[in-house]
């Protein structure tokens, strides 16, 4: 079931289409609005501006989620057992404990699913992002990392724009999720050997 295609985290065409595409659409619609009579012109400009803002705020992400779910369904149809599915903002990781395989789908390359034997994963570990000492110890990011095909993959289980104490509920939940996924990857790896 595995594919040997080289892992590409970012599809640059897709990234530019998602970030600059709405801007081009907005400028185009505003330009069209200028050329059209007053009411139609205003409507065109409004659709252009509103459409771009909606795409950047949530439509783009919704479209990615749809694509991702479609890919996961396709995996299941191929016989891949989705024992653990973990979605983070940058990628999604699916672990098949029965066949000892993992599948990866990236946020900026949702058109491809990379399937690898879990035994080829190396350096699987948790990073709790701890900084500071004693009672001042805290973190703003918890993640688990691994290396596949020489590429380092980081999957965040918790991120925040502020720093939280190491015993806070957010950090403990993030650490627990990361520990669980690392254990799942290790068990899948042991199965694949």
């Amino acid at each position: 079931m595995e594919n040997t295609e080289r892992i590409q985290k970012i599809n640059w065409f897709y990234l530019f289409l998602n970030t600059l595409g709405p801007a081009v659409f907005m400028v185009g619609m505003i330009a069209l609005g200028v050329a059209l009579p007053q009411q139609f012109g205003l409507l065109c400009a409004f659709i252009g501006f509103g459409g771009a803002v909606l795409w950047w705020s949530f439509l783009g992400h919704r479209q990615y989620e749809k694509k991702r779910d479609h890919r996961i369904n396709a995996l299941t149809e191929q016989g891949f057992t989705c024992n653990h599915i973990f979605h983070s903002e940058g990628n999604s990781l699916i672990v098949d404990l029965a066949h000892g395989q993992v599948a990866l789908i990236f946020r900026w390359n949702p058109g491809k699913t990379y399937i690898r034997p879990a035994s080829t994963l190396s350096d699987v570990h948790v990073e709790d992002g701890r900084s500071g000492g004693g009672p001042l110890a805290g973190s703003s990011r918890v993640s688990f990392l691994f290396r596949v095909d020489g590429i380092k993959i980081r999957v965040n289980t918790f991120t925040s724009n502020r720093r939280w104490r190491m015993d806070s509920d957010y950090i403990l939940t993030g650490v627990s999720k990361a520990d669980m996924m690392v254990e799942a990857l290790r068990s899948a790896g042991a199965k694949g050997r």
């Binding site: 015993d167 509920d169 403990l172 939940t173 650490v175 627990s176 999720k177 520990d179 669980m180 254990e183």
Partner: protein, 113 residues
Amino acid sequence: MFRKIRRLFQDDLCSDCASKMEMTRKQLYAMPTQWVGHYVPHTDAEFYKRNLTLVKKKADIPVGMYACGLIAYRCPQCGHRTVKASIFLPVRGEEKMEQTLYFNQGELRIWPD
């Protein structure tokens, strides 16, 4: 009012006569249906009767699985009985508390084995 405030800080006080209750039984359970990121709170005693698995120590609980500690209390003054259920997520020796429930009507008289 004063009794209620005291009970907030001391969970082994009798809700009827406010005397200190004695612990009669204590047991740790794993909750195989509750996992990190997918926790659903339940207040029904039947749920706990059906979904608890006995474990000897905290280390036996798989990573990411919730645990439930049951403590049975009995009041030596008025004979009132209660069972305290603490649902928590064990994380590297620490506990992330999720829910604390008291069963005062004998709902958890028979504990899961």
